[in-house]
């Protein structure tokens, strides 16, 4: 069969399947609780799968394997950081957030603080983090489709980005949280199966001997044993070593501050189900990141260096699909074509599920926090009105993400996602942790930590080599990079925590302290928490 016909067919199948799910889910979406939280009626296991589907993004599937294929061991840090981060969510955040909030990240702050400023701050930060994250996914989608159709044309990539944007707006506007969740569950299953098939085929090439696989990767990389040792990407200088530490911090502290992950905890009936869903997610995500190790080193061992190295005209974000083609029999073979098409379709499903989750998180926050909580706070807002605003917001955010992704095409997508993690860890995590554990914490502390962390993280990225000064930068021809690190976490995360502390101790807010009593009882026992909706 003609490869392109097969590929197109599989892509369209993924799209048709997800559209079908969305229409089916839309018939069950009646109230605001349905739209924002799927009626809180998913089981722990279903939500665990959906969390996996929301979290294992194109950055994980395409970006990590690309980073390992290119830089060897240093790329593995992503896998480890992305997984260990779940312990923060499990131990400190998931259950208490489920009990204290309703629909958005801001709810648990607004629980005891001055509504208007904290909802505005949390909403701004939700939208910024989600847009950073969306960029990464859409850049992945553009490269993927260009590879499959065999044309490296800018126009085609841009068209793909617009198409993905239109689909994600559709999922959210029509299906709400219920549609998005089912799309994520289906994607998680497809991704696990697809990755497992490639992993088995790669290991089979080396008689299931991991050491032989690593040896072949080291040899084929041209770097020798150094390829298997830390330091190839980050070991050159003190600055790059600190950059590595900064990345490590952002990864481990970012997850529990990602708005699209946090709102998933609201989709289950109780805090115990939220815990169960995180436990399932840790199992699933852990297994997946172990597989990325084989995918990355497999790509290093079996692909030609010029296929993945951007300096030689390759594309590091395509290591996984190209590896699928190689283990299926190589370029031109039927097996290779089938596997390439399958894995590309899985990657496409991955991207669609994640962008839907991100769009949902940010449009929910705009409608529930900004529109209902701030703009219309003195008048009653009907549920229909609120959901209508959420749908409009999904359009606008989708359009902004499309416009910004077009110039970001050359960046590694795992790296772009790491920036989203740094912003989440700096702006959101300090406020969430302080709010749950510190009675004294108050409105000024919350707004200072959110805005301070956000401005520090985004500002440092703007003045970093990511944006200007290097051939790989967003603006390679100019140079205003006065901050040497690629990842701002090591500076911006402490700034977020410090400003939260300073804002709190310089103001008095007895009402917020008083309401902490209720927050604490509710968070730990579930007394008075939002209930599941039964239809």
């Amino acid at each position: 069969m003609d490869t392109q016909v097969l590929t197109t067919f599989l892509f369209l199948s993924v799209v048709a399947l997800t559209i079908g799910i969305t229409f089916w889910a839309s018939r069950q979406t009646k109230t605001a609780a349905d739209f924002y939280s799927g009626g809180r009626s998913f089981s722990g296991f279903q939500n665990g799968l959906a969390i996996g589907g929301d979290y294992m993004s194109a950055a994980s599937f395409l970006g990590i394997s690309g980073a390992i294929a290119l830089y060897g061991y240093d790329g593995f840090l992503y896998s480890i950081g992305f997984l260990v981060a779940w312990l923060v969510a499990l131990l400190l955040v998931a259950e208490m957030l489920r009990n204290a909030g309703r629909y958005t990240m801001a709810d648990q702050l607004a629980f005891r603080m001055n509504q208007r400023p904290v909802r505005t701050a949390a909403s701004v930060s939700t939208v910024v983090v989600s847009i950073f994250y969306l960029l990464a996914q859409m850049v992945g989608a553009g490269s993927l489709v260009a590879l499959l159709l065999g044309v490296d044309s800018e126009a085609l990539k841009n068209l793909t980005i617009v198409g993905v944007g239109a689909l994600m707006i559709f999922y959210v506007v029509v299906g709400g949280m219920k549609g998005t969740t089912y799309v994520q569950i289906v994607k998680a299953v497809l991704l696990m199966i697809g990755s497992a098939v490639i992993v088995v085929l790669v290991l089979a090439e080396f008689s299931f001997n991991l050491s032989d696989l690593l040896g072949a990767a080291a040899e084929n990389s041209g770097k020798g044993e150094a390829f298997l040792q830390p330091g190839l990407q980050y070991g050159a200088s003190l600055t790059s070593k600190i950059d590595f530490l900064s990345l490590g911090l952002a990864l481990v502290l970012g997850t529990a501050g990602l708005p699209h992950i946090l709102i998933r905890f609201y989709t289950v009936p109780t805090a115990r189900d939220a815990r169960k869903s995180v436990l399932w997610a840790i199992g699933l995500i852990g297994a997946f990141y172990l597989m990325t190790l084989v995918l990355g080193f497999g790509a290093a061992a079996l692909l030609d260096r010029s296929q993945v190295d951007p300096l030689e005209g390759g594309n590091q974000n395509l290591a996984s699909p190209l590896l699928a083609e190689a283990v299926g029999g190589g370029e031109g073979s039927t097996g290779g074509a089938v596997l390439l098409a399958l894995i590309a379709a899985v990657a496409f499903a991955t991207i669609l599920a994640v962008v839907a989750g991100l769009t949902l998180a940010s449009s929910s926050s705009v409608a529930h926090d900004l529109y209902k909580g701030v703009i219309k706070k003195d008048s009653a807002v009907s549920e229909n009105d609120e959901v209508r605003v959420a749908r409009i917001a999904a359009f606008v955010i989708g359009a902004v993400a499309i416009a910004l992704s077009i110039p970001a095409q050359r960046l590694n997508i795992a790296f772009l996602v790491a920036l989203a993690f740094a912003v989440a860890a700096s702006a959101n995590l300090p406020a969430i942790i302080y709010n749950m554990f510190w009675r004294r914490f108050n409105t000024r502390g919350a707004t200072w930590s959110i805005y301070g962390g956000l401005i520090a993280a985004v500002g440092l990225v703007f003045f970093s080599p990511v944006v200007s000064g290097l051939p790989t930068s967003l603006f390679p021809d100019s140079d205003w990079s006065i901050f040497p690190l690629n990842n701002p976490g090591i500076i911006s995360i402490p700034i977020g925590f410090l400003l939260g502390y300073l804002g709190t101790v310089t103001s008095k807010d007895p009402a917020a302290e008083d309401r902490f009593t209720e927050l604490e009882v509710r968070a730990l026992t579930g007394a008075g928490a939002e209930q599941a909706v039964h239809h």
Binding site: V84, D212, I282, R515, V521, T525
Partner: protein
């Protein structure tokens, strides 16, 4: 700041529950597990990141075949993450959930909301 801006004063049942010895015990047990556990896993993770940058010779020691210390340490991070998640699941089901259920039942009986 106006009164409407701030969330309303809560129901007195929360003060009563907050003052019970059961609640104090629930909070003590919860914090007694998660605070040390968080410090432990974050330190272990940061140790790994720092060794990867500043002890590359040690991390590059080959153990068998092409498997080196860095890879084994990385895989151990997976093992400790799975292990701690499992320990927390057991701990919370045995030590936290019964107390939380009891307090939540008291809330349902006493708080006419």
């Amino acid at each position: 700041m106006t009164d409407q801006e701030q969330a309303a004063r809560h129901h007195p049942i929360y003060d009563r529950l907050h003052a019970t010895p059961e609640f104090a015990e629930l909070r003590r047990r919860y914090r007694g597990f998660v605070f040390p556990a968080t410090i432990a896993f974050l330190s272990w993770y940061l140790l790994y990141v720092i060794l990867s940058s500043w002890a590359t010779d040690f991390m590059s020691t080959q153990l068998w075949g092409h498997i080196n210390v860095a890879l084994v340490f990385g895989l151990l991070q997976f093992v400790t993450t799975f292990g701690l998640a499992w320990m927390y699941a057991r701990f919370s089901a045995a030590k936290l959930d019964p107390l939380a259920r009891q307090l939540e039942a008291e809330y349902r009986e006493g708080g006419d909301l």
